[in-house]
């Protein structure tokens, strides 16, 4: 299958993460062995300048088939709808014009990363560049291609969101497409692949004991739960980072800092400082999804009363207080 990769208004981090994926001889050979061939990629292919433009022109004209169009980066529609904040080098034309042309030719269209899915960090602040995603503007359907857009396979844009994506999220999506088994049922209500978006970052969180007792961190490098004070959104964020570690060993929480829900639309403008939990009367506003608020408050109060001393102490230290073993049985 022909993989056609275009970089829009992005940082390139999703490609950097992708090539860091776990494969014995590297991700590129892994994809090639599944029949996935990059016919265009701004960071990886040999073509430069006119050579690269020829490939884009043939694809836009339909003479070079695009099986899978991967776009990495947001759609900049500004200033004033002209798209001129991002022109495709060598053409003087807005990138969004090229995205529209190429998307209309593709069998599958993938938005790689939250920027391409929803607008991402580009949409932060006043969004003077009029950034949006391929088929979403924040959580609202529409974006550049419009709510009715379907790729030639009949699927809408597949939103592999994340900031950046975990390498497996893109590799596994591509493998599923290569295997011919992707259907609309495999996507959630934000068109994200369910194989990772049906999890919550909370699942497998290494701070589970601290969460259990609401023994909370108060400052950076504290071991305690990050939700109560330090802005962690892991209980609300759709991703499997704590059951599918980064580079086999890490995650944001393992690294000691809060989840900022980077797979979600609008993560870039939470409406409060990222690393502070907004509260009303001492109670966090953002609760775990689908949990009744009054019961959560009651449960939290009981948990705090049941907290072992070791857990309460460890929560505000950067190394754990030791659990003493019971010693030999008599």
């Amino acid at each position: 299958m022909n993989l056609f990769w275009l970089q829009a208004s992005g940082c390139g981090g999703c490609t950097q993460s992708m090539i860091g994926g776990d494969a014995r001889r590297g991700v590129l050979e892994q994809l090639a062995s599944a029949g996935l061939e990059f016919v265009a990629h701004p960071a990886l292919r040999e073509e430069s300048g006119e050579e690269a433009l020829d490939v884009l022109r043939q694809a836009a004209a339909g003479t070079l088939p695009i099986d899978i169009l991967c776009v990495e980066g947001a759609m900049l529609r500004g200033p004033n709808g002209s798209g001129r904040f991002h022109t495709l080098s060598g053409t003087g034309e807005p990138m969004i014009a090229w995205v529209r042309r190429l998307a209309s030719q593709a069998r599958y269209v993938l938005a790689i990363g939250s920027c391409t899915a929803f607008g991402g960090i580009n949409a932060s602040g006043e969004n003077l560049t009029e950034a949006c995603g391929l088929q979403y503007e924040g959580a609202e359907r529409g974006g550049l291609l419009g709510a009715d857009f379907l790729a030639r396979s009949g699927l809408p844009v597949i939103n592999v969101s994340g900031c950046p994506i975990h390498a497996d999220w893109i590799v596994d999506t591509l493998m599923t497409l290569a295997g011919g088994t992707m259907t609309a049922d495999d996507l959630d209500d934000l068109q994200r692949p369910r194989f990772y978006s049906e999890q919550l970052v909370h699942h497998g969180c290494p701070k589970n004991e601290f969460y259990e007792f609401k023994a909370s961190a108060q400052k950076a490098s504290d071991l305690g739960c990050l939700m109560e004070n330090l802005g962690c959104k892991g209980t609300q964020a759709h991703a499997d980072c704590n059951t599918r570690p980064w580079y086999g060993v890490g995650s944001c929480i393992r690294g000691g800092f809060s989840c900022i829900a980077c797979t979600e639309p609008g993560f870039e403008e939470p409406g409060h400082p990222f690393m502070e939990t907004p509260k009303v009367a001492g109670i966090p506003i953002g609760l775990p999804l689908d949990m009744p608020k009054a019961w959560f408050v009651a449960l939290a109060a009981l948990s705090k009363s049941a907290t072992p001393k070791r857990v309460r102490e460890s929560a505000v230290r950067d190394t754990p207080a030791v659990l003493k073993s019971k010693g030999p049985r008599k």
Partner: protein, 481 residues
């Protein structure tokens, strides 16, 4: 005079367009253009200061940690916060990991594939080099990519993930590693050293770091079965040590300080034949040839970034023109190694000026110097001691964060007023290297480096231009931000 527009350049990080005026078979004038504007500096205004740590790494997915480090440093500077030694060591490890990984990603994925081009098919070395380094297909990737992934476990352990971590804070790092993680990390570095010593150098890192002259470098490379020597052998036949000279003025903000009292592992300064102390007060950004509003060149602490919707006469890029004491300077691994006083870097530049070989060799030399230093920093980490001093947001303050990304000097200038960010200005390494002309008409570093390069009639993709542009290892997404 014919006009040749080369774009999208590709195998650079981001969007790059190079316009060349060619006459009598040589480049007479070059204009370097960045074609993407995102406006990060505007996004930061009005935000709570610590939010900068979330926003700035997202400027760039390959220099992500460098941006984080610059923001953390600027924030710390605004209140005078000093990090504990463990935090400093962990920060150095995280930054060095990104810089080393970036240098090799550049070498294997961005730079070497140009030698596999059809244009070189007549060369005796072409078949072997193409088999090894061709884009996407070369067999080097099966060695390099898994080694890189393994090495990035440094990020997994110390920084949670890469790119885009929040582990780097003004007061240190967020993960106090445990004794077992320290042992695991020692293994990670040992494995990566083995990859470098077998596949990249076919020599010990210490042997590479001891090379002290171009003659010694080429003699060392003879017949050596590894990837850096392969590049040197090819570069010699092509004369790439005499191509790509820019201003020969080199800027480094200094890298890898171990504590506030001692000099950094790689010293800061400006080199114009001899080294002078760094004077950041002489830095200004000119917007005369950028699609940005403004008249006078401004120092970044009082800088502004106001994009123009309708263009501007004479402007050809979104990139500002930074100047140091009114001069165009070059930054990157070559600049760092010159300011660090490394004899090989100094000799390369004294003999021929900066060149394609000088820039690439400096990167690989730096890799050979950094890995052993990473081993030292890791060994000194004391599990149980603090990694992070506590931050509290000031109501007022100015902060400056000067770091070295893989590609060179990166600076953040921040003003906090009434508890929020009032101004945030960034100058990235490629902003220096790929700067446009200033009001005095001085071309930027790359614009100078391309002058007089030969271009054959009808050649739309002159290989020498490919090599010279990529020798700078540009990061275009950082350049404009």
């Amino acid at each position: 005079m014919t006009r040749l527009v080369m774009g999208p350049f590709n195998r650079v990080e981001g969007d790059l367009e190079v316009s060349l005026d060619v006459a009598d078979g040589r480049i007479r004038r070059a204009e370097v253009s960045s074609s993407l504007y995102r406006g990060f500096e505007s996004m930061l205004v009005g935000k709570e200061p610590l939010d900068a740590l979330v926003i700035v790494p997202r400027i760039c997915g390959i220099c992500s940690v460098a941006q984080s480090a610059a923001a953390a440093a600027a924030l710390a500077d605004s209140v005078g916060l000093v990090m504990p030694r463990n935090g400093r060591l962990a920060t150095n490890l995280i930054q060095a990991c990104e810089n080393v990984a970036d240098h090799l990603t550049h070498f294997y994925c961005f730079f070497m594939p140009d030698f596999a081009r059809e244009a070189y098919a007549g060369q005796p070395w072409h078949a072997g080099v193409a088999a090894r380094f061709q884009a996407l297909r070369g067999n080097a990737l099966a060695d390099f990519l898994p080694a890189r992934s393994s090495f990035l476990r440094v990020m997994g352990y110390l920084a949670g993930k890469w790119p885009h971590t929040l582990a780097l804070q003004p007061g240190g790092t967020t993960r106090a590693i445990t004794p077992t993680e320290k042992v695991r990390l020692t293994g990670v570095l040992r494995e990566f050293r083995a990859f470098l010593e077998q596949t990249v150098f076919a020599a010990t890192l210490e042997q590479v770091a001891a090379l002290d002259s171009p003659a010694a470098l080429y003699a060392w490379a003879q017949q050596r079965d590894a990837d850096f020597p392969r590049f040197l052998q090819v570069a010699q036949t092509l004369g790439l040590d005499r191509v790509g000279r820019a201003t020969d003025r080199f800027l480094s903000f200094g890298a890898y300080a171990e504590d506030p009292a001692s000099p950094a592992f790689f010293a800061a300064g400006l080199w114009t034949g001899t080294a002078a102390p760094l004077d950041p007060a002489t830095i200004v950004e000119d917007v005369s040839h950028a699609w940005l509003a403004g008249d006078a060149a401004l120092p970044p602490m009082s800088g502004e970034t106001r994009p123009l919707a309708d263009g501007k006469a004479g402007a050809y890029t979104w990139c500002k023109a930074p100047r140091y004491a009114g001069q165009v300077v070059e930054t990157g691994a070559l600049a760092r190694q010159i300011l660090a006083g490394h004899p090989l870097a100094l000799a390369l530049v004294r003999e021929q000026g900066a060149s394609v070989v000088g820039r690439v060799a400096a990167r690989l030399l730096e890799v050979a110097r950094l890995l052993p230093q990473m081993e030292n920093w890791l060994a000194e980490i004391t599990p149980g001691d603090a990694f992070c001093a506590q931050w509290s947001s000031p109501q007022q303050g100015n902060g400056v964060g000067l770091v070295e990304a893989a590609r060179g000097a990166l600076g953040h200038w921040l003003r906090i007023e009434r508890g929020k960010i009032a101004s945030y200005q960034i100058i990235a390494p490629t902003t220096w290297n790929f700067s446009p002309r200033d009001a005095a008409g001085q071309p930027g570093a790359l614009e100078q480096a391309l002058i007089d390069l030969p271009v054959a009639v009808g050649d739309k993709n002159p290989v020498l231009v490919q090599h010279v542009v990529r020798s700078f290892d540009p990061c275009m997404v950082c350049t404009v931000h």
